[in-house]
C-alpha cells in the first residue's frame, strides 16, 4: 500500500522531468505586439516589448530583425534580448500590406498551434508597412494599447467582432472570407481606417469605416456605432449623425433554378445624435420623411457593399454560409463560381427612437 502510494506520488514528478521549465514573470521578456513586413524579398520583423522598471511607468521598446522567412524572426530577436522572449502576452500581430498580399496564412496557423498565445489576440493590416505603425506607437507609454484600440472600436465603434479565434473560424469554414482591421497613419497617429478584405489569407482590398459599419450590422448586428449620412431636402444639404442603438439582420435564402436568391431584412433602431440646424426634428412629418430617406439610403449602401464584395469576389458577410446552412448538397467550389451573380434583395426598416438631446 505504501509502495503504491509512493509510486503514484512520484509518477508525475518523474514524468514531468523533475520540474517544469520555469517562466518567472520578471525573468522573461514578453512582447505585446509583433509586425511583419516584406522588404526586398526578405521578411522584416518588429516587436514591441514593455519594460516595467519604474513604478507605474511603462516604457515601450522595439526589437527589429530581418530574415529570409518569417519562421526564425523570434529566435533572431531572442538573440538580442536579455531574457527569453515569450509570446504568452502577445495580443496584436500586424502585417504590412505587401506582406499581406502574399498571404498571412502561415503565420496565423502557427500562432493557432502555439498554446501559449491567446486566441483573443487581435490581428491587423497596415496601410504601408507594419514598421511605420509600430514605430509610431512606441511613444505611447501604455502597454497593450494597440489591441485595446481595436477592442474599444469593436465594442463602441464600427468594427465587427473579431480576433484570432474568429479569424480562424472564418478561414476554416466554407462560405465566409476573413476581414481584418485596416490601420493607417494620420498625422503621426495610428488610426483604424476601415476593414481589409482577405481571401484565403491574402489581402484583396479594403473598405472605409462607413462601409464597415454596414458590414458590422450585416454580420453580427450591433448595439453601438455611429454613422453619418448626407441628407438633401428642398435642395438644402445637411448631415445627420446617427447613433446606432440596435441593429439586426435576418437572412432568407430562396433557392430556385440554380442561383439562390437571398433576402436581407435589416432592422435599425437608431437615435439621431446630431443634425444640421435647419432640420426640424420636432415635426412628425419630417421624421417620417427622414425615415424614408434613411431606408432608401441603407438599402443602397447594403446593395453597393454586396456588389463591391462580389466585384472583388470576396464574401465577408458570409452569404455562402447562409446558403450552406440551407443546402443539402453543398459544393463550395460551385458556390464560388456563382457568387458574383448571386442575387440579393434588401429590405430595410429604420426606426427613429429618439431625436432629443444626445446622451
Amino acid at each position: 500500500m505504501k509502495l503504491c502510494f509512493l509510486s503514484i506520488f512520484s509518477l508525475p514528478f518523474f514524468l514531468s522531468g523533475c520540474g517544469i521549465h520555469e517562466r518567472i514573470i520578471d525573468d522573461v521578456q514578453i512582447i505585446e505586439a509583433l509586425g511583419y513586413d516584406r522588404e526586398e524579398g526578405k521578411v522584416k520583423g518588429i516587436a514591441i516589448y514593455p519594460t516595467f522598471a519604474e513604478q507605474g511607468n511603462v516604457k515601450l521598446k522595439i526589437y527589429k530583425t530581418v530574415s529570409d522567412s518569417y519562421e526564425d524572426i523570434l529566435p533572431r530577436m531572442n538573440a538580442k534580448s536579455a531574457y527569453p522572449i515569450e509570446t504568452g502576452k502577445l495580443d496584436f500581430v500586424l502585417f504590412g500590406k505587401e506582406y499581406a498580399t502574399q498571404g498571412i496564412e502561415d503565420v496565423i496557423t502557427n500562432f493557432a498551434r502555439n498554446p501559449n498565445t491567446g486566441s483573443r489576440m487581435q490581428l491587423g493590416i497596415a496601410e504601408n508597412t507594419a514598421e511605420d505603425i509600430l514605430q509610431s506607437s512606441k511613444h505611447v507609454n501604455l502597454s497593450f494599447h494597440l489591441s485595446e484600440k481595436i477592442n474599444q472600436n469593436i465594442e463602441s465603434g464600427n468594427l465587427p467582432k473579431m480576433n484570432l479565434h474568429m479569424f480562424l473560424n472564418n478561414s476554416y469554414q466554407e462560405g465566409r472570407d476573413q476581414i481584418l482591421p485596416y490601420l493607417i497613419l494620420e498625422e503621426g497617429q495610428i488610426k483604424i481606417d476601415g476593414l481589409a478584405l482577405l481571401k484565403n489569407g491574402k489581402y484583396i482590398n479594403h473598405i472605409n469605416l462607413r462601409k464597415s459599419f454596414i458590414l458590422k450590422t450585416l454580420i453580427d448586428g450591433s448595439h453601438n456605432g455611429q454613422y453619418k449620412t448626407k441628407i438633401t431636402q428642398n435642395k438644402k444639404e445637411g448631415f445627420i449623425l446617427l447613433k446606432n442603438l440596435n441593429a439586426k439582420t435576418t437572412y432568407t435564402v430562396e433557392k430556385s433554378e440554380g442561383i439562390p436568391r437571398i433576402f436581407i431584412d435589416l432592422t435599425i433602431h437608431a437615435e439621431i445624435e446630431k443634425a444640421s440646424s435647419w432640420f426640424d426634428l420636432k415635426k412628425d412629418k419630417d421624421i417620417v420623411k427622414l425615415k424614408r430617406i434613411l431606408n432608401e439610403h441603407f438599402k443602397e449602401e447594403v446593395q453597393s457593399l454586396i456588389s463591391l464584395a462580389q466585384g472583388y469576389n470576396v464574401d465577408p458577410i458570409g452569404l455562402g454560409e447562409k446558403v450552406r446552412a440551407t443546402s443539402r448538397n453543398w459544393d463550395y467550389q460551385r458556390f464560388m463560381d456563382i457568387y458574383p451573380e448571386l442575387k440579393t434583395t434588401v429590405h430595410t426598416n429604420v426606426y427613429i427612437l429618439n431625436t432629443g438631446i444626445e446622451e
Binding site: 503504491c4 502510494f5 508525475p12 517544469i20 520555469e22 518567472i24 514593455p50 522598471a53 507605474g56 497593450f144
Partner: protein, 511 residues
C-alpha cells in the same frame, strides 16, 4: 490516507492491582511521609476518634465548623458514638462513606476526604467529604478565544462541576445523562461523557465511552489530549472532534444529538461526531437573522479557501503561468517583482515564515509587549522587507490577507490546520505550478472524504450527499427550516421543534 488506522491498545490493567491484605495502617505509613498530611485524635483520649486528612486538600473552614466544633467545644458524650456507622447521625455532612476497603480510602483521601477512625488501627473507617474543589481555580468564566459580539459570553471553567451546572441550566431536563469515568493512572482525572437520552444515538455514546475507557495515560491535563487519543485517525491535520469553550456550542451539539466530553481541569469541551462544516459555524450565526448568518458563514468559507490557496496560486501564476495575469495587472505585478532577487517560492516561504514567527511569538509574549511587537512585526518588518527588495509588495498583501483570513474560523484548532495546509500546497505549486495545485487539491479532497469522526463521515452533507442536512451547513437557513436534527447523527428523535404548529402571527387587523 493510505496508512492503516492505528488502534489504541486496550490495556485493562489501569490501576496497579494492590493486595487487599494491606490495611489502613500501611496506607497511613505511606502518606505520613508528606508534610501536608495531618493526623490527630479529636478527643482528649489518645488513640480514640482519630482524624486523618491532607491539609492541602480539605476546606479548613468546614473542618472547623462541622467536625472540630462538635467534638471539642461542648463536652461531647462519647456514648452517642458506639459504632463508626453512627457518625452519619452526628456530623452534618452529606457525603460520608463507611468502608473497610483500603483502596477506596486511599482514592477518597486524595480527593479531599478526611478519614475518621474510632480507634487506632481500626479497619472500618468513615470517609468524610471536606474537599475544597474551588481552591486555586479560575472564577471568571468569560469566553476568551471564541468571542462573539452578540449572544452569551459564558464559557467553561476548569471546574468540572461548574461546567455540568452550566449545561444543566440550559438543558433543563432529566434526559441529560452524565457518565463519569476516571482516566489517568497518576492524575485519576474525572472525565464526564454527557448526552441526551432519547436523542443521541447509543452508538455514539458507546463508542465514545469505550474509547475513553481504553485510554492508558498518566496525567490528563486537558481534553485536547483526550481528543488526540480518541480520534479515528491520528494521521491527519484536521481536528476530527470539535473542541469548544462556549456553553451555547456544547448545548447546541447535545441538542442535535452529539456527545460531549468534559474533563476536570479543562475549560474546553469536546463534542462529536463532528463534520468539517461544524468548524466554520459560529454561534453568532444563530443570533443574527438567517440571511446575515448565511452570508457571514459563506465569507468564512471563502476566506479559508483564500487562506489555503492564496500564496500557492501566487507562486504558480508568477512562476509558470504569466499568461493568466490580466493585462492591466501585468505591469504592477511585474514591477513589484522587478527588484526581488529570489524566485517566488523563496520569497513566499520567507514571508510566510515571518508571519508564522510573529504568530508563535505573539502567543508567548506578555500581553503588553505582544501588541507592540505585532505592530513592529506587521508594519515595520513588512514595509522594510519590501523596501529592501526581499519581497514584493503584492505578495505582502496576499500573505497578510491569508494570515488574517485564517483567523476567521471560529475554532482555533481548525485555524492551525489551515496554517499548516498552506505549506504542502506551496511546495506543490513551486514544482508543478497550476498542475501542482490541482494535485494538491486532489490529495486534500481524497484525504478529507476518507476521514471519519466517531465512525461518521467527516464531509457528510456533501459526501456522502445528504440534501436534507444541507439546511444548516454552508447556509444557515431560517429556523423554520432547521427544525429537524441532522440525519447523519442518527438521532433517536428527528424533530427538534415543530415550527408549523404555531398559529399564524396576529396583526392588528385580527384583534
Amino acid at each position: 490516507m493510505f496508512f492503516k488506522k492505528r488502534k489504541i491498545r486496550n490495556n485493562k490493567d489501569k490501576q496497579a492491582v494492590t493486595d487487599n491484605s494491606q490495611d489502613i495502617g500501611q496506607l497511613f505509613a505511606k502518606v505520613k511521609k508528606s508534610s501536608d498530611f495531618k493526623q490527630f485524635p479529636l478527643t482528649d483520649e489518645s488513640g480514640h476518634l482519630i482524624i486523618s486528612y491532607y491539609n492541602t486538600l480539605v476546606d479548613q473552614q468546614q473542618l472547623q465548623l462541622k467536625i472540630l466544633m462538635i467534638f471539642r467545644e461542648t463536652p461531647f458524650e462519647l456514648d452517642r458514638l458506639e459504632k463508626i456507622d453512627d457518625i452519619k447521625k452526628i456530623i452534618a455532612i452529606e457525603d460520608i462513606v463507611i468502608t473497610d476497603n483500603r483502596n477506596e480510602a486511599e482514592s477518597k483521601l486524595l480527593k479531599g476526604y478526611a478519614i475518621l477512625q474510632m480507634k487506632e488501627n481500626d479497619q472500618r473507617v468513615a470517609l468524610i467529604l471536606l474537599s475544597n474543589d474551588k481552591a486555586g481555580l479560575r472564577e471568571q468564566n468569560n469566553v476568551e478565544n471564541e468571542f462573539s459580539v452578540v449572544g452569551p459570553q459564558i464559557g467553561f471553567l476548569e471546574n468540572i462541576d461548574v461546567n455540568i451546572h452550566l449545561l444543566r441550566q440550559q438543558i433543563n431536563t432529566t434526559d441529560l445523562i452524565t457518565k463519569e469515568v476516571n482516566i489517568g493512572s497518576t492524575s485519576n482525572t474525572r472525565v464526564i461523557i454527557a448526552h441526551i437520552d432519547g436523542i443521541t444515538s447509543e452508538q455514539h455514546v458507546n463508542t465514545m465511552t469505550q474509547r475513553l475507557q481504553d485510554i492508558d495515560f498518566d496525567v490528563i491535563f486537558d481534553t485536547s489530549q483526550l481528543h488526540q487519543f480518541i480520534e479515528d485517525d491520528s494521521l491527519t491535520p484536521f481536528p476530527l472532534l470539535l473542541p469548544t469553550e462556549r456553553v451555547d456550542r456544547v448545548v447546541q451539539a447535545l441538542i442535535n444529538g452529539q456527545v460531549a466530553v468534559l474533563s476536570s481541569g479543562s475549560p474546553y469541551v469536546i463534542t462529536g461526531p463532528s463534520t468539517i462544516i461544524d468548524f466554520f459555524i459560529s454561534p453568532e450565526d444563530y443570533f443574527l437573522p438567517w440571511i446575515l448568518g448565511s452570508f457571514f458563514r459563506l465569507i468564512r468559507v471563502f476566506s479559508v479557501l483564500f487562506s489555503i490557496f492564496g500564496t500557492s496560486i501566487y507562486i504558480a501564476v508568477i512562476t509558470y503561468h504569466y499568461e493568466m495575469i490580466p493585462n492591466d495587472l501585468f505591469g504592477s505585478l511585474s514591477n513589484s517583482r522587478y527588484s526581488v532577487p529570489f524566485p517566488p517560492v523563496l520569497e513566499v516561504i520567507f514571508l510566510e515564515f515571518t508571519i508564522e514567527l510573529l504568530r508563535e511569538a505573539g502567543v508567548r509574549l506578555p500581553t503588553k509587549v505582544g501588541q507592540t511587537l505585532g505592530i513592529v512585526g506587521g508594519i515595520v518588518i513588512g514595509q522594510a522587507s519590501v523596501e529592501a527588495s526581499l519581497t514584493s509588495n503584492v505578495l505582502l498583501i496576499i500573505v497578510a490577507l491569508s494570515a488574517l483570513a485564517s483567523f476567521t474560523t471560529p475554532i482555533y484548532k481548525m485555524s492551525n490546520t489551515i496554517r499548516f495546509l498552506r505549506f504542502p500546497l506551496i511546495f506543490f505549486a513551486s514544482i508543478w505550478g497550476g498542475l501542482g495545485i490541482v494535485i494538491g487539491i486532489a490529495f486534500l479532497i481524497i484525504h478529507l472524504t476518507r476521514l471519519e469522526s466517531l465512525g461518521t463521515p467527516y464531509t457528510v452533507p456533501f459526501y456522502p450527499f445528504r440534501p436534507e442536512d444541507l439546511t444548516d451547513s454552508i447556509i444557515r437557513s431560517s429556523y423554520s427550516k432547521t427544525s429537524k436534527r441532522p440525519n447523519y447523527l442518527r438521532p433517536k428523535s428527528i424533530w427538534r421543534y415543530h415550527p408549523h404548529n404555531h398559529k399564524k402571527k396576529k396583526s392588528d387587523f385580527d384583534e
